[in-house]
């Protein structure tokens, strides 16, 4: 017995104690009917081969460890960016429990969202009653400014019609006739969470703009869309700061900067911050809209353009060039010069890169994640002199791959780099064995690759479950670029220290100055 009251040990150390390791051995030996150890090693080695990779890449039906989620998750993300807005997902209730848990595990914050709790009877007769009662309950309990409706795959498969259901709910008195219930169909079997974000945001914008009549454009006024972003709190605050320095007149459509880091001060804020209905309405007359994530806002941007606004779609402004491009677009669209204070920030990031470039130059990286994040990071890695030799996305398509390839082609460091659209993390596992890299960039699930392959993981992506508070800091803008740079450098220095830490063996290079 190792446990003691003075020094309580938990799972990390408890199960390494002899009383437990002996128990594990006996369990395996006597009851598990395991494959022989040699066979396990044989298959393990086989999975590292080119031959295995070919079979692995020939998969047509099976997806293993994908780096994407489903549409309604993105719809909930979009909805909570509006002031006092309650996301309402029409369909099975388990889905909503999953979305709320997923966000809470990433942000370490609550996420409020309701479901229409459809069950077998709704599968047969449709979910109209669930919508009618659900809207009445949600409205009475929470008195939100609006309820933003999206759907799970169940409601989509049975073909529930949100438009007519919401109208019926109003007729039946669930909610006032003039109450705002924007909606979007968000089938989980189409696209991914970024598609759901796009559909839901378009639904909300369209709800307010479709009946707005003629536009009276306001020169130099712009809108921004952040997109589905695990760093939304830090990023949007950073963007607001930069736009404040520029004196730009702007509206963020879907402002999620305040909802996922509310204070602990004795009060639970179910809603905080967010774009108000009036701001959405007024945004109609802006002269232009900038999206930070092209592949996350394709339909929304198209809709906004159809209303006569100029639209610019970026791919996550990470690093110097990305941020330059974003600021120059803002400057052009608002007719405001980029102030010296920001130019100085730029210089500081360049200064930091210059100080550290020798660490990063020529290092090989594999990265995976959402399409726009991959584009932003690839561009930054290339300007750091790194080689992003493997860039993979489960929800990135061929159009996305062509854009990544264009980045490769524009840089001498992109020469040996390859892009993999519509691939999962089991594909990536093969690639990491056959075409090794020095560092891996991705979300928390990448830690399994770190374990299997031995490649160190730099956590940038969504979700991040096993590190705290990353979302509170930006990765966009020059400040964000600094953060990304330091994250990469920290991992490199840590790795170097770990590899040189053995006394009288490797500690020759255990340097105090690096």
């Amino acid at each position: 017995m190792t446990q003691s009251a003075e020094k309580v040990i938990d799972h990390e150390m408890l199960f390494r104690q002899p009383e437990y390791t002996e128990m594990f051995e006996n369990k395996q030996k006597n009851f598990e009917y395991k494959h022989p150890e040699a066979r396990i090693v044989e298959i393990q080695e086989w999975t590292k081969t080119k031959e295995y990779q070919e079979k692995n890449f020939a998969r047509e039906a099976l997806t293993v460890n994908p780096a994407k989620a489903c549409q309604p998750l993105g719809a909930v993300f979009a909805a909570v960016g509006f002031a006092n807005t309650l996301p309402f997902v029409h369909g099975s209730q388990g889905c909503v429990a999953y979305y709320r848990s997923h966000f809470s595990r990433h942000f370490k914050e609550p996420t409020s969202c309701v479901s229409s709790s459809m069950t077998e009877d709704a599968a047969v007769f449709g979910g109209l009653n669930n919508m009618v009662d659900g809207l009445a309950n949600a409205y009475n309990m929470y008195k939100p400014d609006m309820i933003a409706v999206s759907t799970t795959c169940m409601a989509e498969v049975i073909g529930d019609d949100l438009d007519s259901f919401i109208k019926t709910a109003k007729t039946k008195g669930s909610i006032p006739e003039d109450y705002d219930v924007p909606f979007a169909h968000t089938p989980a079997f189409v696209g991914s969470h970024i598609t759901g974000y796009d559909n839901a945001l378009k639904g909300i914008v369209e709800h307010f703009w479709s009946k707005a009549g003629e536009r009276t454009p306001i020169a130099n006024k712009i809108n921004f869309i952040g997109g589905f972003d695990g760093y939304t709190t830090g990023n949007l605050r950073e963007i607001k700061r930069l736009l404040g320095l520029m004196g730009a007149d702007y509206t963020i459509l879907g402002d999620t900067s305040d909802i996922w880091d509310t204070p602990t001060d004795g009060e639970f804020r179910m809603y905080d911050g967010g774009t108000t209905k009036e701001e959405v309405k007024a945004a109609y007359n802006a002269s232009a809209t900038i999206s930070f994530q092209e592949f996350c806002t394709e339909k929304t941007i198209k809709y906004i353009a159809s209303k006569g606004q100029e639209t610019v779609a970026l791919n996550q402004p990470i690093g110097v060039t990305g941020t330059d491009q974003f600021l120059m677009e803002v400057s052009r669209l608002t007719s405001k010069p980029i102030p010296d204070a920001i130019t100085k920030e730029r210089g500081r990031l360049v200064d930091a890169i210059a100080d550290s470039q020798a660490m990063i130059h020529g290092k090989k990286f594999a990265l995976y994640g959402d399409p726009d994040l991959m584009l932003g990071l690839t561009q930054f890695l290339l300007e750091l002199g790194a080689e992003p030799t493997t860039v993979l996305s489960t929800n990135g398509d061929d159009k996305w791959a062509a854009k990544v390839q264009a980045l490769f082609d524009a840089s001498p460091f992109g020469k040996n780099c390859k892009v993999y659209p519509k691939k999962d993390m089991w594909h990536l596992r093969s690639l990491l064995f056959t075409e090794p890299v020095e560092y891996l960039i991705g979300n928390t699930h990448g830690k399994y690759l770190e374990r299997d392959v031995g490649v160190p993981l730099i956590r940038l992506g969504f979700p991040i479950f096993d590190r705290h508070h990353y979302h509170r800091f930006p990765i966009w803008g020059y400040e964000g670029g600094l953060r990304v740079l330091v994250m990469i450098l920290d991992e490199m220095f840590e790795r170097l220290d770990q590899s040189t830490i053995i006394t009288a063996k490797t500690d020759i290079s255990y340097d105090i100055v690096r």
């Binding site: 079979k55 609550p110 004795g266």
Partner: protein, 484 residues
């Protein structure tokens, strides 16, 4: 603020009236049946349960898929569990339940992986059976050491009329009688996770027990063979339980299903006794084994020294004196540790009041552990309990305890806000709500990434964790000094 039992009863009744007043009339009437103040001596807790959640009320509940894939099947480590349908369900439930296991993941164990058929629109339109067939071939090709496959149905499967049973049979035949189990756990079935547990249990009966040659695994029994049923090894719970059973002289031949293998499941009918921790999720298969194989089962509770000792004695009661002596020996061995733990933590926790809202067995089972530390549970409820859970709860709760079944976000928040307990024990969706209100919180599904909490080793961790939560200095910082 020490209320008498009668004052507490009155306060709790008023609170219930208050929360009900926010609902539309029809909904208030329905919710009223799920909220109650416990009356000592009654046979249950006075609430209706296992009824559909109201739409739009922010229920905490999950779905049948969560109950089958997430709870019962998912932890069986040497099988591959396919999340059959769109990508989300498998993605959100990927590795989040902390069902610990030992194995080479991706080679001979698959617990922390996400296998999905990632349904696209064409699969919905044309059906997914062909895709499932091909998928099973690909699984066999790329993961040759898997010992079986389960098909965990997501919502669309049952709606588009796929015949996953036919596919499973066909493929099982093709792969030399391999265990391939179709599970109809579509998320819209039933009212919560609970039906998913039941369906999963039934599928073990139909597709494992009934289809497997009883002599498949060479097995020599002993008179002391038991199987642990309903322990998912969250943070290692089943291990810190198993060690006690083995120390008292029993031989644990299977773990259901934490760190479990298909061979263990197959051999379980050979046990002399099934010891059942989570009654809610695995009573069905326990009853079946009793009926079909004559294996008796006994419920036990390994939270806190009082309940552990009682349970060890109860389990030993099914065996001879050797085991009974073994139980006493184990209780004695750990009594020093338990005395130390209580001496260390009870002074810091005595009199603290706790509100719980969890699933499975925990809304009642953990009460004893809190009481061992001098704490008091003043409110409790089940996410997906049935009436037999509320009956069993009467053995644990005190008079005038607030009872809330399938509590809504609004109700739970109001209850906590008014009652101001010293600790709330619930899930990830609730954690940050209450912490922001300044109320200490522990996740009581995942042990807040700590654990194990079962057994004697687990109780030390439990006590430490509750102390950390309640006595953290952070709770003194929530008010800015200039706002006090």
């Amino acid at each position: 603020m020490s209320l008498t039992v009668e004052e507490t009863r009155t306060r709790n009744k008023e609170l219930i009236e208050e929360v009900l007043s926010v609902y539309p009339e029809k909904s208030a009437k329905k919710r009223a049946k799920h909220l109650s103040v416990h009356e000592e001596g009654k046979s249950d807790c006075g609430v209706k349960s296992n009824i559909k959640s109201l739409p739009g009320v922010m229920t905490v509940r999950g779905c049948a898929y969560a109950g089958s894939k997430g709870v019962v099947w998912g932890p069986i480590k040497d099988m591959i569990h396919i999340s059959h349908g769109p990508v989300g369900c498998g993605q959100y439930s990927w590795s989040t339940r902390r069902n610990y296991y030992i194995g080479t993941t991706g080679i001979d164990a698959f617990g922390t992986m996400q296998f999905t058929s990632d349904f696209q629109e064409k699969d919905i339109v044309f059906g997914g059976d062909k895709k499932l067939e091909k998928l099973i071939d690909e699984v066999e090709m790329l993961f040759p050491l898997n010992k079986g496959i389960t098909v965990q149905s997501e919502c669309p499967i049952g709606l588009i009329g796929d015949d996953i049973e036919a596919v499973s049979k066909k493929k099982a035949k093709e792969y030399a009688g391999k265990t391939i189990v179709p599970v109809r756990c579509e998320g819209f079935r039933g009212v919560s996770q609970s039906l998913g547990h039941h369906i999963a249990n039934d599928m073990i009966r139909d597709w494992v027990f009934d289809k497997t040659d009883p002599n498949k695994n060479a097995f020599v029994g002993t008179p002391y063979d038991v199987a642990i049923i309903g322990d998912y090894n969250i943070g290692g719970d089943a291990w810190s339980s198993r060690i006690l059973l083995e120390e008292m002289g029993l031989r644990v031949i299977a773990q259901w299903s934490g760190d479990g293998t298909i061979a263990e499941i197959e051999n379980t009918p050979k046990a002399k006794l099934n010891v059942l921790h989570c009654y809610r999720s695995m009573n069905y298969i326990s009853r079946h084994m009793e009926e079909k194989y004559g294996t008796p089962w006994v419920e036990y509770n390994f939270f806190g020294p009082s309940k552990i000792a009682a349970s060890l004695r109860e389990i030993a009661g099914h065996f001879d004196d050797k085991i009974k002596e073994g139980a006493e020996r184990v209780i004695a061995k750990y009594s020093v540790l338990m005395d130390d733990v209580i001496a260390q933590f009870k002074p810091r926790l005595e009199g603290k009041r706790v509100m719980l809202y969890v699933g499975g067995l925990r809304p009642r089972h953990v009460i004893g552990a809190y009481e061992d530390l001098g704490m008091e549970v003043i409110g409790t409820g089940y996410e997906f309990g049935h009436n037999d859970d509320y009956q069993r709860t009467t053995d644990y709760v005190k008079d005038a305890t607030l009872i809330y079944d399938d509590v809504t976000g609004y109700e739970f928040e109001k209850f906590v806000d008014k009652i101001k307990p010293d600790l709330v024990g619930s899930g990830i969706k609730e954690k940050y709500v209450f912490q922001k209100m300044g109320v200490p919180f522990r996740q009581m599904h995942s042990w807040d990434y700590s654990g194990p909490y079962h057994g004697y080793d687990g109780f030390a961790i439990f006590a430490r964790d509750m102390d950390m939560a309640i006595n953290s200095p952070v709770w003194n910082l929530t008010k800015a000094p200039w706002k006090k």
